[in-house]
């Protein structure tokens, strides 16, 4: 069966520090991968998606970046965190581009 792993579960970082969140999917090949952010009381904002290794589409201009070094690995990074980067970050995958999203357990990021 397919599973998605995301870590860490919680993270507290000072402003200006770097960020690296990792997500891996098991049990499937060539998944579509997504990074979403959920601010308190807000909906799910798509940040990046990838349909294959090295293929990244950015939805929102910001100081975040994403990479897909392996088929089932998706990484969200930042060189310098801002206060506004705080939120609940969710990795997700789907089989088809229009298929339903299966979410990881999320990372609660607090930038202080």
């Amino acid at each position: 069966s397919q599973t998605i792993h995301q870590w860490p579960a919680t993270l507290v970082q000072p402003v200006g520090s770097p960020l690296s969140l990792e997500c891996t999917v098991e049990g499937t090949s060539n998944p579509n991968l997504y990074w979403y952010r959920q601010a308190a009381g807000r909906g799910l904002q798509l940040l990046f998606y990838s349909v294959g290794i090295g293929q990244i589409s950015s939805e929102v201009p910001q100081n975040l970046s994403a990479s897909r070094p392996q088929d089932r690995q998706f990484i969200l990074s930042s060189k310098k965190l801002l206060l506004s980067d705080s939120g609940f970050y969710l990795c997700a995958w789907s089989v088809w581009t229009n298929g339903h999203r299966i979410f990881g357990s999320g990372t609660q990021l607090s930038v202080l």
Binding site: N32, Y36, G41, R42, G43, L44, Q45, L46, Y49, V51, E59, L90, T97, N98, G99, H100, R101, I102, F103, G104, S105, G106, Q108
Partner: protein, 110 residues
Amino acid sequence: QQPVQSPQAVILREGEDAVINCSSSKALYSVHWYRQKHGEAPVFLMILLKGGEQKGHEKISASFNEKKQQSSLYLTASQLSYSGTYFCGTEQGGNNRLAFGKGNQVVVIP
């Protein structure tokens, strides 16, 4: 474009029914519904494609009205486990961009 969900919050007693809505100003290809418990990841409930089909998950069903560009989620004989925030995600033309609404908070009390 972000869909609009209404009402923002619903409080109902166990066994009661409720309807929550998701509307878009643009033509839709599909509508997804997810439920999120506090502090957890959203869980997929169902997907509706163009054609006005109706689907169900437990005693939760949904419809998709193409003409109105609207989907409704029906919570029938609600259970305590139905509590959570319901998000709809809308897709236009199969472009792989699922835009989520801000959610409907549903609280079911005994």
